[in-house]
Amino acid sequence: MDRLLALSDELAAAVHQSSRAVFAVHGRPRVPSSGVHWRPAVVVTANHTVQTDEDITVTGPDGRSLPAVVMGRESALDIAVLKLETSEVTVAEVGDSDTVRVGHMVLAVGAGPRASWGVISAIDRAASRRSESDVFGLDLTLYPGFSGGPLVDGRGVVVGINTSGASRHRQVAIPANSVGRVVEALLRHGRIPQAYLGVGTQQIRVPENAPPGVTQGQRTALIVVEVQPGSPAAGLLLVGDVILSLDGTPISDPLDLRAALRAERIGQRLMVSVIRAGQVLDVPVTVGERADRRR
C-alpha cells in the first residue's frame, strides 16, 4: 500500500480510536477543556482547567453530559481526577510512557474530536525534580481546549496528558505513568499522599575538611535547620546535621530531597547519611505521610 496513504490512515485511526475515550470537561468559563476516561467512571484532566469544585459536567463523545465531582488534584503535575457516577463511554487504552523517546510521532487529541500532530521534542528530566515527574516537551500545537486531553502514539494508545499550563506557549504532556500513579493513589487512599521526614533544610557547601565517608564529588548537601516535633525525624535527626544522602542517593539540594521522597516510600525505613559532630553517621528514619493539606 501507498506509504503516505498508509500513514494517513494510521493517524486517522489513532485519532478515532483514542477520541472514543475523550470527554469535554466544563470546569471553567468559556472554552471547555478535554479529559481522558482513565478508569471506569474516572476522568483525568488538567488541573488548571477545573476552576471550581462544584457544578462540573463532562460531555462524552456520544454527546451526553454527566455531572462530575473532583476526586483529587495534583497541582504539581497539573492533574485533576474527576469521578462520574457511571459511564458507558469506552475506557482509554493507556500505554507505558517509559518507552517514549524524543522524536517519536505523537498526536494530541481534543474533545470533538480534534487533533494535532507532531513529535516528542524533549523529555525534561530536570523538571522531574520539581514536579516528581518527567515532562514531555511537544513539537505540536495545543489548541484551545486541548489541555487535559490525551497525547497518543501512532496506534492511538495514551502516553500522556497534554497541558499548556498557565502559558499558551508551553506545550507539554505529563507522562501516562506519572498520571497513573496519581490515579492509583487516589483510588487506594482517597487522596494523594505526601511523603515527608519533617525537617527544614538549607543547602550548604560540603565542608572541605569533611570526614571520610563523604562521596567524592559531592559539592553541596543540606543542613538541618529545623526538626518538626512529632514528625518522623523527631528525636532522630538533629538541627545541625548535614544530610548527604538518602538510601545511597546523594542529596545536593532541596529538590533532590523532595524527589527522593516519593509517595510510594511512605512507611519505608530509609538510611539518612549525615555528618554529625565531624563523623558520618547512618540514621534510619521511617518516611511519614504529611497530614492532608488543602491544595
Binding site: R3, L4, L11, A13, S19, P113, A115, S116
Partner: protein, 182 residues
C-alpha cells in the same frame, strides 16, 4: 507515493495569481479553468503564473464574495485539472498537504493533519480545519490528501488553524456558474 512526487504533481495544478505585490494561489480545475478565493482577485483580468514558468492572462468569469470563491478562464492553459479526492475518505487525523506561495515563497509545500471537520463555532460555516501552517500567499491554493487529490481551497488562518473551503462547496460554485465543462 513519496511526498516529493506528491508535491510535484500538486505543484503542476497550482498557479500564482498576481495581486499587486502579493501573490495568491489558485487551482487548475479543468483545462483553461482556474478556481481561487474571491479575496485574491482585485480586477476582472489577472496575471496567472504557472509552475512551468509561463505567464498567462486570466479573466474572472464568476465570483461569489460571500463564499470567497472565484472562477477564472485562462485560455491555452493546457494543463489537466486537479484530481478530486474521494468524498468522505478524509477524517480527523488524516494527512493533508498544501501548496501555495506563503510570504512569496513560490510553490511551497506544508504538511499536517485534519484538525476537525465542520464549523469552528456552532452554527458557523463548515470548513476543513487543518493542523497545518499556512501564510499569506496560500489563499486559493490546493489542500490535498495523502494521494495528492484535491480536498478543498485554502482560504484563511484563524486561531492558528488552516481553514479550507471543502471541495463540495467549490464544485457547487463552479457548477452554478454554468460555463465550465465538468
Amino acid at each position: 507515493m513519496d511526498l516529493d512526487i506528491l508535491a510535484d504533481s500538486l505543484r503542476r495544478v497550482t498557479v500564482q495569481v498576481a495581486r499587486g505585490n502579493v501573490v495568491g494561489a489558485g487551482v487548475v480545475w479543468a483545462p483553461e479553468w482556474v478556481v481561487t478565493n474571491a479575496h485574491v482577485i482585485r480586477h476582472r483580468s489577472v496575471e496567472i503564473g504557472l509552475a512551468d514558468g509561463r505567464r498567462a492572462e486570466g479573466l474572472v468569469v464568476a465570483e461569489d464574495r460571500e463564499a470567497d470563491l472565484a472562477l477564472l478562464r485562462v485560455p491555452h492553459l493546457g494543463i489537466p485539472g486537479a484530481v478530486a479526492a474521494e468524498p468522505g475518505r478524509v477524517r480527523v487525523g488524516s494527512l493533508i498537504v498544501a501548496i501555495g506561495h506563503p510570504f512569496g515563497i513560490r510553490g511551497a509545500l506544508t504538511r499536517g493533519i485534519v484538525h476537525a471537520l465542520g464549523p469552528v463555532t456552532p452554527g458557523g460555516r463548515s470548513w476543513i480545519q487543518g493542523d497545518l501552517k499556512l501564510g499569506p500567499g496560500n489563499s486559493g491554493g490546493p489542500l490535498a490528501d495523502a494521494q495528492g487529490h484535491l480536498l478543498g481551497l485554502n482560504a484563511m488562518v484563524a486561531g492558528g488553524l488552516a481553514l479550507a473551503i471543502p471541495l463540495g462547496e467549490v464544485s457547487r460554485f463552479v457548477d452554478a456558474a454554468g460555463v465550465c465543462p465538468a
